[in-house]
């Protein structure tokens, strides 16, 4: 949140002794009022001033960050025990987007003086920027030291406003504006937050400015933050077009507001205005080359420049050229389904094409979404624009990329249906519900962390559920909130006819969850919480209560496999499955069961030395539940099939399943699972080749051709072989001319390819 940060850290309270203080205060006063003479004032001060602490402040205001940094360093060398100096230096780092250095300096300052308000406020601001729950306690700590500390009160108001508590925020802000003791810059910041509150409550819009704009500009005509701060609030509520409009106003007032230029560039990209976005990012870079976010964004645009862009009526798809052929097909299919089935479920029609960018490298996606690498999410949606990791960015063991596409496209529906007013929990909830009920990998499994939170009564009520996403209070709460929101939407969909659609309709007119529930479902949020709680208990209470037992039994099953005790492994795995039959996540008992039986079947397979009965049949022993090897193998396959059917998507397990079903001659199952596996790992040519072969064996010749073509598009090692397979598939479909051309492409690479030459003779007859 760079726009707001810039306001809040540009000036803190600085009390300096005597004449020196007066000199810089005079410059600050000019600067705070937007007077152009401020520059000359600072330069004059620098020509006479020898105190490095004051020189640092002057350089900082002149945007000479390196010199300010050097001056602070010298000042600290001279006064190593000065907590205030360290805190101010920390603020310089914060303004230069060096959060880690800033954090260290705040901590150093607080170790020297635990009550240093500049450091406490700086630390609170840093935590606010990270959306960390600890911001609240840091603010409280500072207000205990000085309940009237203006900077901290501004931060407290910001926190309240971000949490949607506009009235409480306004009380603080109006008091700050009215008080003559409030420093000018804090007063201006308070006005900017009041303007933001006006925008968030709908009193102001980009076309209808808040009354606070005029008041702030009377004090400082170049105060771009009066627009940039409300823009920030639009961004965190996902209203990017409104944010863009306000940021344009901000940079019009102050073209050298580099953070606003960056925010404008970033948000233009989010509304698919790439060229204009690049222009503002370049301006931001020209004025502030220190900001890694700007540099990363510009590099990303270079990457995007080399991407393919497919434009159709329903989809604009940006992909790496190596992946275009494969991804276009899968994403295209899903987006068609979204137009035809998903959107109508909510009484909505997708009018514009959905824009989807799929990145080959996670860090590119992370830059696109947050400006800095290192974030953990998989996808993000900005109105019509979905940006996400592509299947190459992460292994399929970690995620199901097509389900993520479906999840994000559901956001496109909920965001567009409500003009972005929909609450976070509801938008996420509908997306998770869509993913689990209608997505490519339907499932009702929930992770252990959720069951644990449920058992420990750590779930939030619906009215507070947004906080679980925005300001998590415990490790893993965001993940728990996703699951909870999804289950709540499942409950609403199943219990209240058209419930989701009706709630969504209300969100088109308000951001208030209480109103959305009351008007959409005709009941109070507390009643919804009660009913949902009972449903949750009915559906997941047993699993939650027996979670520890499940884990113990599943672990025991895997340990027994290691010990080659197949009977024990089977018993433990079956016990675990009975406790939580729909579980699909890691440490899965169904996979332990399958593995145990598979190994048992191998180890007890008939051989000349094995005991035989009079009819020559295998005599089962004690191992693996006393079944014959063929039966054990069949039960192993069934366990894998069950795992697959409840939504299990571990690629290794699915690979095993395909091999087992294929070896057992059960081609239909092998084909079904291979089809899913191929979608999970779409960049693997061997999956396409195998699916093509299975499809051929089952007589699905069109599918076989399609898969053979995708295998070829991935430029496999054996290119001639891949062309030949395409030719075979075309020939089977009677498309002789195309088959001949494909064959010639194979033989062009490998002129002595025996099978190719044979087929050429046959086709040419």
């Amino acid at each position: 949140m760079k726009g707001l940060s810039a306001v809040l850290i540009t000036v803190g309270l600085l009390t300096l002794p005597g004449a020196l203080s007066a000199a810089i205060d005079e410059c600050h006063a000019l600067d705070d009022h937007g007077k152009s003479e401020a520059g000359t004032c600072y330069l004059n001060l620098l020509s006479a001033e020898t105190d490095d602490g004051i020189r640092a402040e002057a350089y900082w205001r002149l945007n000479e960050v390196n010199r300010a940094n050097a001056a602070f360093r010298r000042a600290i060398d001279a006064k190593p025990d000065d907590a205030e100096l360290r805190a101010r230096w920390g603020l310089l780092f914060l303004s230069a987007h060096q959060a880690a250095d800033a954090e260290a300096l705040f901590e150093e300052a607080l170790s020297l003086d635990p009550n240093n308000l500049t450091a406490l406020a700086g630390q609170a601001e840093l935590l606010l920027d990270r959306f960390a729950g600890a911001a609240q306690s840091t603010i409280s700590r500072a207000l205990i030291v000085d309940p009237m500390h203006a900077r901290t009160r501004v931060l407290r108001a910001r926190l309240l406003l971000e949490a949607g508590n506009r009235d409480a925020a306004a009380d603080i802000l109006l008091d700050l504006v009215a008080s003559s003791a409030t420093p000018v810059r804090d007063r201006l910041d308070a006005m900017a937050l009041l303007a933001a509150a006006d925008h968030m409550s709908g009193i102001a819009t980009p076309e209808l400015p808040s009354p606070w704009v005029i008041q702030a500009l009377e004090i400082n005509p170049r105060f771009g933050e009066i627009h940039a701060v409300p823009a920030y609030f639009y961004v965190i509520t996902r209203r990017y077009r409104e944010a863009v409009a306000l940021l344009e106003a901000a940079v019009a007032l102050d073209p050298e507001h580099w953070d606003a230029q960056l925010a404008l560039g970033t948000n233009l990209l989010r509304v698919n205005e790439l060229e204009a976005g690049q222009e503002h990012l370049e301006r931001a870079y020209s004025g502030d080359a220190f900001n890694a976010e700007t540099v990363n964004m510009l590099r990303l645009l270079d990457t995007l420049d080399g991407y393919d862009t497919l434009i159709s009526e329903r989809l604009i798809l940006r992909t790496h050229p190596e992946e275009t052929a494969v991804l276009t097909r899968y994403v295209g299919e899903l987006v068609d389904l979204a137009h035809e089935e998903m959107a109508p479920r909510y009484g909505f029609r997708l009018e514009r094409p959905v824009v989807i960018e799929l990145y080959q490298h996670h860090d590119d996606f992370a830059v696109r979404t947050a400006g800095l690498p290192g974030i953990g999410i998989l996808g993000a949606t900005f109105g019509d624009v979905v940006v996400m990791d592509g299947p190459s960015a992460k292994p399929a063991t970690e995620w199901d990329w097509l389900s993520t596409v479906w999840h994000e496209v559901a956001h496109v529906v909920t965001l567009n249906a409500t003009d972005n007013l929909v609450s976070r929990w509801f938008s996420e909830g509908v997306s998770v519900y869509e993913e689990q009920r209608f997505g490519p990998s339907p499932s009702s499994s929930v992770p252990f962390e959720f069951l644990k939170a449920m058992a420990e009564d750590r779930l939030l009520g619906v009215a507070e559920l947004d906080n679980g996403f925005m300001r998590p209070q415990y490790e893993g709460q965001i993940g728990v909130s996703y699951v909870q929101a999804g289950l709540l939407c499942t409950f609403i969909a199943d219990r209240y006819e058209d419930g989701l659609r009706r709630v969504l309709e209300v969100y088109a007119t308000t951001t208030d969850t209480v109103v959305a529930i009351q008007e959409g479902l005709g009941l109070d949020p507390a009643d919804l919480d009660d009913a949902f709680g009972r449903w949750l208990e009915e559906n997941y209470g047993f699993a939650a209560a027996n979670l520890a037992d499940y884990q113990t039994s599943a672990q025991a099953a895997f340990a027994a496999i290691d010990a080659k005790d197949w009977g024990e492994a089977r018993q433990q795995a079956e016990r675990a499955i009975s406790l939580y039959p729909t579980y699909t996540g890691p440490g899965n008992a169904r996979l332990a069961l399958a593995r145990a039986l598979e190994l048992a079947a191998e180890s007890t397979a008939p051989n000349p030395a094995a005991p035989m009965d009079r009819d020559g049949a295998f005599t089962p022993g004690e191992q693996g539940g006393g079944e014959a090897p063929a039966q054990q193998a069949s039960t192993a396959r069934q366990a894998l099939l069950d795992y697959f059917l409840i939504g299990g998507r571990n690629p290794r397990a699915l690979r095993d399943a395909v091999a087992l079903f294929e070896a057992a001659g059960e081609g239909e199952h092998a084909h079904t699972i291979q089809r899913t596996l191929t979608r999970l790992e779409p960049m693997r040519f061997d999956h396409h080749a195998r699916l093509g072969a299975l499809a051929t064996s089952l007589g699905h010749h069109e599918e076989a051709l399609s898969e053979r073509r995708l295998a070829l598009a991935l430029k496999p090692h054996d290119l001639a072989g891949a062309h030949y397979q395409v030719a075979l598939a075309l020939n089977t479909l009677g498309r002789k001319d195309e088959a001949t051309r494909a064959l010639l492409q194979a033989l062009e690479i490998a002129p002595r390819y025996p099978e190719g030459l044979q087929l050429l003779r046959e086709i040419s007859r």
């Binding site: 292994p395 054996d718 030459l757």
Partner: protein, 314 residues
Amino acid sequence: MDAQAQLGADLMALKNLLRICRRFLCLLLPGLLLPGLAAAETRAVIIAGLGGEADYEEEFQRHANRLGEALADVTEDVVLLTGEAATQTAVEGALDAMAGRSSSDDTLLFVFIGHGSYDGERFKFNVPGPDFSAAALGDWLDPIPSRTQLLVVTGAASGAVLDVLGAPERTLITGTRSGDQRNATVFGRYFTAALEDAAADVDKDGRVTAQEAFNFASDGVVRHYDQDGEMATENPVTSGPEPGMILARLDAAPTVNAADAHLIARRDELEQDIATLRAEKARFTQDEYFAQLQKLLLEMAMIESQLSSAGETP
């Protein structure tokens, strides 16, 4: 090496050869006993190094045996040293004997499947008994007159040999790009798998060359690490001339009937014509190009059909 040592080395090599021959039903090597009389051919020394653990021991021997079996279709001169027999002395002896029976027209293949160690300065091949260094191997290889030499070292840190053993006319294939990649490798697994996988034979001539095996294995290594999202700890490298040496025949060995020599000659001409046409592809429209290609290939197909009918394998 004195006469007695030479005899010892020859006997050891002979024992190994007999072992191979028992396994592969190959012919005894006249060249071993009659040095210098053999015609130009490929000569191979394959070593399975010390595994350390049973799994590795078994894997190295299995891969070495597979390579030996594949090469048995290509050459009769294969020395396979595995298990306790793969000592420094045995390797030195085998190469010394190889030097004695090789000519400059021969091709030498040296393959080491196993662990290596690198201390930042020296690479050592891990074998039963004392290890031997890359520099020592270089000393043993230098006397071998074969102009074309291919060295394959598949294991951990094997990239360290690139600097030490590099020489003109010598191709090096290593499982890692440097000595700093010290984790156990999977390259050897894919390299030997290439010898019986039709997908490795990208030009579909029924033979897998060392270059094809390397490409196949490199691709396999990438997929191996990609599929589980692991960071690759090995990057195979080839350096020196492209190794066209045949490592395996996927089809039965060719038999040539003198009466059909004209067909084979015509097929070779056609192959050359196709190569020329391909090189000039840019001069034609797509349709023209493929029409000409089809004409040549149809004739090729007819010839192959006639050769097949005659019971010959191209």
